[in-house]
């Protein structure tokens, strides 16, 4: 009697989980809840750094920066599948830190770094030094291989030029991994923070006030030749970065969706209008139920993306489905969260707005639902 659409499932992979994943999920659930109550989230909005260094240190001490880093480099030796549930809980509590960008930076190094580069930077990242990515450019295109910034050979090293946007947590970063073209080919390059003049970073005004992001002007920054990652693996690395980012975003977004729904349900259960709890009105009750159905679908996709991550073919499909369905679910849930809070929903004090802005932010980075569906169309048909 079950409806399994087995024919499709055969193509698209199934679901499973590891013990470690569940353990990390349980720890992350209480950690994020305890460390990131909503009043703290709001306090950090006004803070220049945007996160609490003490909490960041605890995250480092928990070893979470090394989850998907091999033991040889000081990591735990698990995989992105085990990182996802942590990102989910962070998204749920709007706990902002450089966690995601550090994790992705480590994956970039693993994908295209040589022994020396990995040997130097991975342990430092695991130990809590911030690394971030500078991939996006003013053209706004989501294609990561659309790169206009350049690195030109000059003496022993390279001189960079161009502008990078949405370099998250760059101010605190020890390392920025940027994409540039070298003689027409896209390459990744390691830029140490010390090489970046203070004036090259401009804090951006972004839609998600809980996060921090910077514009980085590369013009005139010089790096040694050893700062370039492997030429042959740069293309693959960008693909890896895109998928790893999308996975962590999907996880964060699922968490945020859950909170947007929970927060709204709480209001529907307590707010009265016309003498009734507003949760009795099907005009609110049914859409929030639809939002919940959308959330559970997105979460299944996200868990599948975590489980299948790295699987040739299936992995990419699963990740893109996860990001696309998380965008749809989060946008809808947060949009309705604003609406269903009525006048209060339209104030800055209402948390619905935090979720709505977070959803827009995530959609804008590494592709929105429409973008990933277009990619899926090519993969599926």
């Amino acid at each position: 009697m079950a409806f399994s659409e087995g024919n499709l499932a055969d193509h698209l992979g199934g679901l499973s989980y590891s013990e470690e994943q569940i353990e990390l999920m349980d720890v992350a659930t209480s950690f994020c809840r305890d460390k990131s109550p909503i009043d703290k989230v709001r306090k950090l909005i006004a803070d220049e750094r945007g996160y609490d260094p003490a909490v960041w240190q605890e995250i480092v001490d928990l070893g979470w920066l090394g989850i998907a880093v091999p033991e040889a480099q000081g990591g735990v030796g698990l995989s992105m599948a085990e990182v996802a549930p942590i990102a989910e809980q962070m998204g749920r509590r709007l706990l902002a830190t450089p966690f995601a960008t550090c994790t992705i930076a480590a994956q970039a190094l693993l994908a295209a770094g040589d022994e020396a580069q990995c040997g130097e930077w991975l342990p430092r990242i695991v130990a809590g030094e911030v690394a971030t990515l500078a991939l996006t450019e003013p053209h706004g295109d989501w294609n990561l291989d659309h790169v206009e910034a350049t690195a030109k050979a000059s003496g022993d090293g390279y001189v960079l030029s161009g502008t990078k946007q949405f370099v998250t947590y760059a101010k605190d970063a020890a390392l920025v991994i940027a994409s540039v073209t070298v003689e027409g080919a896209v390459r990744l390059v390691l830029i140490e923070r010390s090489a970046i003049p203070d004036g090259a970073l401009r804090r951006e005004i972004i839609i998600d006030e809980t996060k921090r992001s910077y514009e980085l002007t590369l013009d005139g920054i010089t790096v040694p030749a050893s700062a370039l990652l492997d030429a042959g693996r740069s293309g693959t690395a960008l693909g890896q970065i895109e998928l790893a980012s999308a996975l962590l975003q999907a996880a964060e977004m699922c968490g945020g969706t859950q909170s947007a729904i929970d927060y709204t349900i709480e209001y529907l259960k307590t707010r009265k209008q016309f003498g009734k709890l507003i949760g009795e009105y099907q005009a609110l009750k049914h859409p929030i139920t639809n939002a919940y159905v959308g959330y559970e679908k997105a979460r299944s996709h996200m868990l599948s993306a975590a489980h299948n991550f790295g699987q040739q073919g299936v992995g990419e499909i699963a990740v893109r489905m996860a990001k696309a369905s998380a965008d749809k679910a989060y946008s809808f849930a947060a949009d309705r969260a604003v609406q269903f809070h009525g006048g209060f929903g339209f104030t800055h004090d209402c948390d619905a707005g935090l979720y709505r802005r977070s959803a827009i932010w995530h959609a804008s980075q590494y592709g929105d639902a429409a973008w990933h569906r277009a990619k899926l169309a090519d993969l599926l048909f």
């Binding site: 409806f3 024919n7 709890l277 929030i288 277009a374 048909f381």
Partner: protein, 404 residues
């Protein structure tokens, strides 16, 4: 229950089942087979499906895990799961006697008396005794708790008066699971309901076939006029009716697995939609080259895959910690609405040929998609409308207040 089988035992069983279904699964019978037990329209279809169910049963692949003394196979449930999986793999026709083996059977196995088990189970499995369900009434389609069909105790009998409707196979069934009102005095409307395993062939019980939206037949209205049934037909006690009925609805809503095995609904052929789009032309090009169509198709594929994954996940405790019943209770809603939307969408693929209907020789896939769309409403309406499903999820999963 039988002891847990070894992997080797299961593998051997699967090989046997595979061979059997490969050999015996019927090919195209030359007429259209129903996609669900609710669309059995002709005698030809009915007899074909009875024969198939009996054959599967006799081969041991239905009721395999039910006790031998009642007609089952006495095996561990894992065997039946394998048999059902193989049955699906070969895309065989549905098991016809859905209300029997899917609702009444599990119920009787759960809470029935020894006599009831002896009397009913085997006949269900071999499709000799077809069962139907009498819950809905003309005036109370969604509001089952308000059922008004009267059952009045008179000595060793109950006298039935009233009407039931949307009774699939009602004109072919031997038994009905019947929700009837034995009292109006209870503290609420539910307290006066009782549950019967009622014969259908009794004086005073008549059925009238109802033509469906699709143009087919498949369910009936039943009229009870001073119909007398034995008092032994009462299941449990007077007043237990609502609780018992809710148990069976849980089976239908997918919140519990059924125990006898088999399936009663054909899966939607999702890849068939893709194939349809590939074969359809628009402006001289395959429709699947059209990015707009592809985009919507991707959306459907994501939706179908999400439901697959939900079905896997709902049995994985750690992955459903926050709202353990959520995935189970949303399954019916999400699945039936998706099918409605997808089949509706599939009609647009057919260009001008979307104008044909079932049985026109030029109809695409003999009208399968049109019929599937129109039929999809049986599932978004029957067994609790989608609107009611949303209430159930809102109230039982999200804890929202019940509307007044």
């Amino acid at each position: 229950m039988a002891s847990r089988p070894t992997a080797a035992e299961l593998a051997e069983y699967e090989a046997q089942a595979d061979a059997w279904f490969r050999e015996n699964t019927p090919k195209d019978p030359g007429f259209m087979l129903p996609l669900t037990f609710m669309e059995v329209s002709t005698d030809q279809q009915f007899e074909f499906l009875c024969a198939w169910q009996r054959k599967v049963y006799e081969a041991g692949y239905l009721g395999a895990s039910w006790p031998v003394e009642y007609g089952g196979g006495g095996l561990h449930p894992d065997f039946q799961r394998i048999a059902t999986k193989v049955m699906k793999k070969y895309d065989g026709p549905i098991m016809l006697n859905a209300i029997g083996i899917g609702w009444a059977g599990p119920l009787i196995m759960d809470i029935g008396s020894e006599e009831e088990k002896k009397k009913y189970i085997k006949g269900m499995l071999n499709a000799e005794d077809i069962w139907c369900q009498g819950f809905s009434e003309p005036e109370n389609g969604s509001d089952l708790g308000n059922a008004q069909l009267k059952a009045v105790r008179d000595g060793d009998e109950y006298v039935l008066n009233g009407s039931k409707i949307w009774t699939s196979l009602g004109d072919r069934a031997k038994y009905m699971i019947l929700l009837a009102r034995t009292s109006n005095d209870g503290p609420n409307k539910y307290a006066g309901l009782s549950f019967f395993l009622s014969p259908m062939h009794a004086p005073g019980i008549e059925t009238r076939r109802i033509k469906k939206l699709t143009g087919e037949y498949g369910f009936v209205q039943c009229f009870f006029t001073d119909a007398r049934i034995s008092a032994e037909c009462l299941m449990g006690n007077e007043g237990d009716g609502w609780q018992i009925a809710m148990k069976t609805l849980e089976y239908e809503r997918g919140a519990k697995v059924n125990l006898a095995g088999g399936y009663f609904l054909k899966e939607l052929d999702a890849m068939g939609v893709v194939e349809l789009a590939r074969q359809s032309q628009r402006g001289g090009k395959p429709l699947l080259d059209d990015p707009v169509m592809k985009d919507r198709m991707v959306d459907f594929m994501m939706d179908i895959q999400a439901l697959n994954l939900n079905n896997q996940r709902r049995r994985m405790g750690p992955l459903v910690q926050d709202r353990p019943m959520g995935l189970a209770l949303m399954n019916k809603l999400a699945r039936t609405e998706m099918i409605r939307e997808l089949t509706e969408f599939s009609i647009g693929f057919q260009g001008t040929r979307g104008g044909y209907y079932v049985d026109d020789p030029c109809a695409v896939d003999n009208g399968y998609w049109h019929r599937s769309y129109l039929n999809s409403f049986s599932a978004t309406i029957g067994g609790g409308t989608s609107e009611i499903q949303r209430n159930i999820i809102a109230e039982h999963v999200l804890g929202l207040p019940k509307g007044r």
